[in-house]
């Protein structure tokens, strides 16, 4: 299994780059640097005549690999889903990436969705996001414009809703939701739901119009530290309409229940 997973890792160049960086290097804007820049006497309207000492606008950087797991069942595959962001409180770039390796048992990457989004807070808990999504894997490539919101909903649900428009006149919608239920201080049960919707069939990517699929999971993780949590769980996928039909034509099934083992990691 491990040998099969390894070839998929190059699909995560950004996250891997992240992992290689020492934590200190992930934070930019050393406040000491301001003093060499010869700020004038009017800094902050006179609040700080010798230069700003408070780095409340510092650039931070984070990466989280929320799903980093092997899914076992009728044929096994590796699945990743992660996010990374860089920016200050108001302007951030966010990378979201997910995909599967060997899910059709032929050593190929599929369901590879990668998004690069500019993100800006619009309310206490929500950010507006705009950018591009590229479907890059062993299937037919697609490029989409993306617009969405991501944040913390009532009841501590982490949610993201993103709409997409492709240059071929296709529209799509994706929703994500996850919740952390603390069983103990370190044992956490995380239900997670993803849905994908498309306005038109796309045989090249094996998706049909309407609700295409739901991908849900229930993961039980143990936070050895906040940044390192092995987990086990189950994942259930169900395919609908045209997507289900295309899968059946290829010998697949409309639903898929799997046991999974993974390692959640922050960088």
């Amino acid at each position: 299994m491990t040998r099969r997973i390894l070839p998929a890792l190059p699909a995560l160049p950004a996250l891997a780059l992240f992992a290689a960086m020492p934590a200190q290097a992930q934070i930019f804007g050393d406040s000491g640097a301001f003093f060499g820049s010869g700020l004038g006497a009017d800094t902050l309207q006179g609040a700080s005549p010798y230069g700003n000492l408070i780095a409340d606008d510092r650039v931070y950087m984070h990466g989280i690999l929320n799903q980093n797991e092997g899914r076992f069942g009728d044929g096994s595959y590796y699945r990743w889903s992660g996010q990374a962001w860089i920016g200050n409180d108001y302007n951030r770039l966010r990378l979201r990436t997910e995909g599967r390796y060997n899910s059709t048992n032929n050593g190929k990457v599929d369901d590879g969705q990668h998004e690069l989004l500019y993100e800006r807070p619009i309310s206490t808990y929500f950010d507006l996001q705009a950018g591009v999504r590229a479907d890059i894997d062993d299937g037919t490539g697609r490029t989409w414009a993306a617009l969405g919101v991501q944040g913390l909903a009532i009841g501590f649900w982490n949610v993201a809703v993103t709409g997409y428009a492709s240059n071929r006149g296709h529209f799509a919608l994706r929703t994500d939701a996850a919740y952390d239920l603390y069983l103990t201080q370190r044992l956490v049960l995380q239900p997670q739901f993803e849905t994908n919707w498309y306005t038109k069939d796309d045989a090249g990517r094996g998706v049909g119009a309407g609700l295409s699929d739901i991908d849900t999971g229930l993961r039980l993780r143990y936070d050895i530290s906040r940044k390192f949590s092995p987990y086990i769980g189950v994942a259930y996928q169900h395919f609908f309409g045209g997507t289900a039909r295309m899968r059946r034509e290829e010998g697949g099934q409309a639903d898929d229940l799997r046991f999974l083992v993974g390692l959640r990691a922050w960088f």
């Binding site: 934070i27 000491g32 309207q45 010798y50 408070i54 206490t124 103990t184 922050w266």
Partner: protein, 601 residues
């Protein structure tokens, strides 16, 4: 940790072994003299006189059993205790051997603005390799402290005690006199901590509500009440277990630079009076201090004598100083116990007749939970202390079967019963947004309550409150204030953004006042965190119903959804910081400049 320091000079790298040498030095002296007399000028732990040379170094430090780096002052963490005399002019040569800019701030000291030591505001800072000379007259006396006011240097050890002997006969006469510097030490980089908090503001909370506490709350309070209570917090997207961040998950709590295992020890002879000058030099941690078996007379607060208040316990917020006098009569050891407000850990030392003694370390008190009163909604759960609280309470109030056990005065002290106040127009006008999570619709006056985690214990113990503080000397400025400045403490816990009036430091300009004018400063805390607000260069006189004997403070702790007011007279022109002294909060924007303009302007 009991080793003596190794060779003092190893180039730029030195080993710092806590302050074990301090205790040992005290022990070797004659026992009948005051502690400070025991340490000569050659002892690096105490420096006295009018000329001081202080050197900051980046050095190898071991406070936790793992070698790490720290910012030492004259080779120590804490740096040397400085002893000045009121009426002297002091000269301090501060040499910066750190690889970055620094500035040493004399916390609570009245001085000219360029001597205040805040890089950017009052002076350009001390560049690496440079020496800056501070020189100013000492116009006050009492217990203070000093620390780096640059970036996160203070978190990594750049702080020390500052004691000013009064002119003439001291008001407080004791047999022994000890400095007790409390601090929170972390291995690693504070920048990583701030980074973690930006991603997950409860990163260091390992005291959160779980399925287990839900089940026990259901057993105690019933399913309906528990679900309703959980739903209230979930709707607000707030976690009542978040008291401080970070916690002992990151920190080792130090007493005079020593971890609990090293057991810093102060000596006494039975029957003597002992003054303990507590200084909270922590970046984040509030301490609840008690000495089981001894009552403490609080005699001196923030450098000013107060009418003694006898207590069993007192809370010391960040950056504040409280001097207590104890009179141990028995020939035995007493534990000086300083538990952190969230009950994740403690600093500990010992008062003993001889070195090498120790007393039992008490269990920590139950961990507090925030309540609806903290959220500016005191009416929603009238008697609630907290759910999941292992005392007499349950969600929604005291358990009826236990009602008889609860003294009436304790019932009256419940936070839900706190005096409600009307929010000033400036608060009512606030709107939640990116930098403002909630508005305290009904702020409360809780000067007569010690704070979350202690309020419900008032019937069982004597605990200091701000309402108890009465200055020995009447205030100098008898004029009534001519105007009021309202500052709303605001923030968004979720994004870890903090500020005043919904703005970070870099988003607004200064607050202008005029030299010598008399104004009222009103704080309303619109966050679920306590914030110790420090004003440089001038006193804040707390309006706590003691008339002209208002206590003079340099730092004021404002509890969640609390409203309080203070009177201020600016004493010198310049750029004076007004900020939350929680390091990670002020570095996230909870900082303002109070600009004192000359009268003619």
């Amino acid at each position: 940790m009991t080793d003596q320091p190794t060779a003092p000079q190893l180039g730029r790298r030195r080993f710092v072994q806590g302050a074990a040498a301090l205790g040992a030095g005290l022990a070797s002296g004659a026992l009948s003299r005051p502690a400070f007399a025991l340490t000569g000028a050659a002892d690096p732990s105490v420096l006295s006189g009018t000329r001081f040379d202080l050197t900051l170094d980046r050095a190898a430090v071991n406070k936790t059993g793992t070698e790490d780096w720290g910012n030492t002052i004259n080779g120590g963490i804490p740096g040397p205790a400085l002893r000045w005399r009121q009426g002297d002019v002091v000269t301090l040569n501060v040499t910066n051997n750190l690889p970055e800019l620094t500035g040493i701030h004399w916390h609570g000291i009245i001085l000219p603005n360029p001597m205040d030591g805040v890089p950017g505001l009052a002076f350009p800072g001390i560049q690496p390799g440079e020496t800056f000379t501070y020189r100013f007259p000492v116009v006050q006396s009492g217990t203070y402290w000093y620390h780096s006011h640059m970036s996160y240097q203070e978190q990594k050890g750049a702080y020390g005690a500052l004691i000013i002997e009064p002119e003439g006969q001291p008001h407080i006469q004791v047999d022994r006199d000890y400095v007790v510097v409390l601090s929170d030490w972390m291995d690693g980089s504070p920048l990583v901590v701030q980074n973690n908090l930006k991603q997950m503001s409860d990163y260091y909370n390992f005291n959160r509500r779980t399925l287990g506490s839900f089940v026990s709350d259901v057993n105690q309070s019933g399913l309906g009440m528990t679900v309703a209570e959980r739903a209230r917090w979930a709707n607000m997207r707030m976690d009542p277990s978040g008291i401080t961040q970070p916690t002992a998950a990151l920190y080792t709590y130090l007493m005079n630079g020593q971890p609990p295992s090293a057991n810093w020890t102060a000596l006494f002879r039975p029957g003597e009076s002992v003054r303990l000058r507590f200084i909270n030099a922590s970046a984040i941690t509030y301490y609840d201090v008690s000495i089981p078996g001894l009552e403490m007379d609080v005699v001196h607060v923030h450098g000013n004598d107060v009418v003694p208040v006898t207590v069993d316990q007192l809370r010391i917020p960040v950056a504040e100083t409280y001097d207590v006098v104890v009179r141990p009569r028995q020939d035995r050891a007493f534990t000086i116990f300083a538990q952190d407000m969230e009950r994740s850990g403690f600093a500990r030392g010992t008062l003993a007749p001889r070195m090498g003694m120790s007393a039992p370390v008490p269990p920590m008190d139950p961990a507090p939970m925030r309540t609806m009163a903290d959220m500016g909604k005191p009416g929603m759960a009238p008697d609630q202390v907290a759910a999941s609280h292992p005392d007499r309470t349950r969600i929604g109030g005291i358990m009826p079967s236990k009602m008889g056990e609860v003294p009436p005065e304790e019932r009256a002290r419940r936070p839900g019963r706190a005096r409600r106040t009307e929010a000033p127009p400036e608060t009512q006008a606030l709107k939640p947004g990116v930098e403002l999570q909630f508005v305290a619709k009904t702020p409360t006056d809780r000067l007569d309550l010690p704070g979350d985690g202690l309020d419900h214990l008032m019937g069982q113990r004597r605990i200091l409150t701000l309402a108890d503080l009465r200055s020995v000397n009447p205030g100098l400025d008898k004029r009534p204030p001519t105007r009021e400045i309202v500052l709303n403490l605001t923030g968004n816990m979720h994004r870890f953004i903090w500020g005043f009036d919904g703005k970070k430091f870099t988003e607004v300009g200064p607050i202008d006042v005029t030299l010598g004018e008399r104004f009222r400063l009103r704080f309303v805390n619109n966050t679920m965190m306590s914030h110790p607000i420090h004003l440089h260069g001038m006193w804040m006189e707390l309006e706590n119903d003691h008339g002209e004997h208002r206590p003079y403070l340099h730092t004021i702790n404002v509890k969640p959804s609390q409203q309080l007011s203070l009177l201020v007279t600016p004493l010198a022109t310049g750029q004076w910081p007004l900020h939350c002294h929680l390091l990670y909060h002020f570095e996230a924007g909870m900082f303002r400049t109070l600009r004192v303009l000359p009268r003619s302007a």
